[in-house]
Subunit: 139 residues, 2 copies
């Protein structure tokens, strides 16, 4: 199973000069946990900002009017190609202790964001857990 087969929706992007408050607003409205930070070219990610980044900013008393490029992860965010496997996606999330991966196409353009919840949403994955259930199931 390839990453592109389970990508569910277009990525939600935000400009690097937007504020943390605007980022929270966009996350809430779009119901996503990660925004891709861009500058002039909306297809070229320059960073990411997650819910966790915002929580940490609050904890550090950083004003919500700070721009997202000061609070997010710039440059060294974790990404995967759309034609890599879901297995590798899970491996990367686990290795880096993250819940989202930026997904790029062969040309390096942004095509989506894969979340750990997208993995659980897959029938095939959830059913792989069901073998455990059979011996003692009453359902």
């Amino acid at each position: 199973m390839l990453v592109k087969e389970i990508l569910r929706r277009p990525p939600v992007t935000i400009r690097a000069d937007a504020t943390v408050e605007e980022a929270a607003d966009l996350m809430a409205k779009e119901n996503v946990g990660l925004l891709v930070i861009v500058r002039d070219n909306p297809k070229r990610p320059v960073g990411v900002i997650s819910e966790r980044d915002i929580i940490r900013a609050i904890s550090r008393k950083i004003p919500l009017t700070t721009t997202v490029d000061r609070v997010g992860t710039m440059e060294k965010f974790i990404w995967i190609r759309e034609d890599e496997t879901v297995y590798r996606a899970a491996y990367l999330m686990r290795k880096h202790h993250i819940r989202h991966l930026v997904v790029l196409n062969e040309g390096g353009d942004l095509v989506g964001v894969l979340s750990v919840r997208d993995l659980i949403a897959e029938d095939k994955i959830i059913e792989s857990l069901s073998a455990d259930r059979r011996p003692s199931s009453k359902e």
Copy 2:
């Protein structure tokens, strides 16, 4: 595989009269995405507050000095017993579009919080994805 077999750490609780700012601070320090809200008895959850709840509060311009019982999910949070299967945990997360489950023991006492990332952290689960990899693997 049972929920109690993959529970990784004790739950992190917060009192119902703590502020959203204090909740963010605790989430950041403990590196968790969900706090269990309690009143006098630390073993009896009365609600939960998630990172997403805090993001939504910011989006709705709710002051960070608001108490967590005004912002979290009270009473009707989703929970699972520790002796239920990991399969059912994944099913519940998927059904309710959530990333965490409160875990209770037979007596109804709080014993933990299971996150969708705990599922991905399991070798058995991540390896169930690796079958995909074999036909075309170059790794």
